[in-house]
Symmetry: C2
Subunit: 272 residues, 2 copies
């Protein structure tokens, strides 16, 4: 089951002239829908608005987007995707400022949603593919994702659930499709995303909730050695919640009480 | 006039699930067609094949592509575009290796083609937007082009014809949609494209032809000061040929005999 609307109409297919295809000139959001309720709607909207501001796109009306998502999902559980592009090109990189953006909204049911409340630890690896440093695009969820595609090509072993990526200077940034947290005592540390990476909605939720467990949240530039020496690691994503890491390459991690509590707290806020 | 084939069929529109849209997971080529003849076909194919190799895509048959382009162009003059994507997604960055690529071929007539044989000098500026350093994607013509989109937003003055881009370390790389050459005596210098940038087909042609005029061709890492002090500058593109620069920001350049000869030599090879 996969349904799409393009500019509100049942999908007739995207024009090959759309700048979303031509240049990756646009943004996207991937939303968990639990029995018709959009998870973390406000956080997704905030990031979309930030991305629009950064790229100079006009942001669609929030009520319209909400309505379109719900018109596809009904009361079902699944994944919605919003793609917003700068619309059909002018030829070349210069965009016509009068050009209306293209708004795509899709939905499909998703058997893995909601995830289990006690999320099983996953194995992770460190990727060879590096993230280039580009502050202009850092934090937003834009459509230029070849680095993630290349990184995900690095392994086929299905027992490895995520790959962590370093920037071109060797600092830890994020997972291919997740954000990263380290636990050091009572400090919950997550990489700074001022030079590359996507500022995830679940990351924002984790940062908001962690102080309830007495954890201090810190954003820092981190080397991979720091992760290997941490008490516990976790990765988070809007569809999977906060997952503790069982291992990173050949280093194993023990279950952490703090992470177990945080995972449950996050689950209740995102997937209930 | 704009005609498209998707996988050989008259266009019904691209699926919103296509990874070309979702991640910019693909490549493109923009081809000048002169009275039905595809300009620099071999150079475009070579770059497409290099890109396929880099991204792990299977390259379409050259004969099939040629045939599809010509089926749209007939004996007309204009621009063809080939877009090759990894095809419709699996959800997430991991691609199904069995997934067939999507091949889009389009054509439109283009009143600026062929360009004049004596190409008028153009004014250029240096852009604020930097190119991130990503050796894995350097040289190929992939679909992740947000940096070029942002750079082209920096000015609206129509008398400025091109913007030159620096990498994040401040070295000159290329124009937004062109490659750059500097003339110093009998040396024709062009920036190294090992860390970012697109290795243009016209750039390759210029490098091949320049020795016929007694010029030594060198690839180097160049700071912008070097360009401002050069005898002459030129930018090149498969649709516009090799254009001398009249100015770069507030520095003016005099016409150069070498560039005039080179521009004509390139024109004869590309657009006749």
């Amino acid at each position: 089951l996969s349904l799409w609307l393009i500019n509100g109409e049942a999908c007739q297919g995207l024009s090959p002239l759309d700048r979303g295809l031509a240049y990756g000139d646009g943004l996207f959001e991937t939303l968990a829908i639990i029995r018709g309720r959009i998870s973390l709607w406000d956080l997704h909207l905030q990031r979309l608005a930030l991305g629009c501001d950064r790229l100079g796109l006009s942001c669609p009306d929030a009520g319209l987007l909400h309505c379109e998502v719900q018109s596809l999902s009904g009361q079902e559980t699944g994944v919605a995707k919003i793609i917003l592009t700068r619309g059909q090109g002018a030829v070349g990189y210069l965009a016509d400022p009068q050009q209306a953006p293209t708004r795509l909204v899709g939905f499909r049911t998703h058997p893995q949603l909601p995830p289990a409340r006690e999320i099983a630890p996953i194995r992770a690896r460190i990727c060879q593919t590096r993230l280039a440093i580009q502050p202009r695009l850092a934090g937003i969820k834009h459509l230029n994702r070849l680095e993630q595609v290349l990184a995900r090509q690095e392994w086929t072993d299905p027992s490895i659930g995520e790959g962590l990526m370093l920037d071109s200077e060797g600092f830890l940034v994020e997972g291919i499709s997740s954000n990263l947290f380290l636990l050091e005592g009572e400090r919950l540390i997550t990489p700074l995303l001022d030079r590359c990476g996507v500022a995830g909605t679940l990351r924002r939720l984790v940062m908001t909730l962690a102080p309830q467990l007495g954890l201090e949240v810190v954003e820092e530039r981190l080397l991979p050695e720091r992760a290997l020496q941490a008490e516990a690691l976790g990765v988070c994503n809007a569809l999977t919640g906060l997952s503790p890491l069982a291992s990173l390459d050949s280093t194993d991690f023990k279950p952490s009480r703090h992470f177990t509590q945080l995972t449950a707290l996050v689950w209740d806020a995102a997937f209930q």
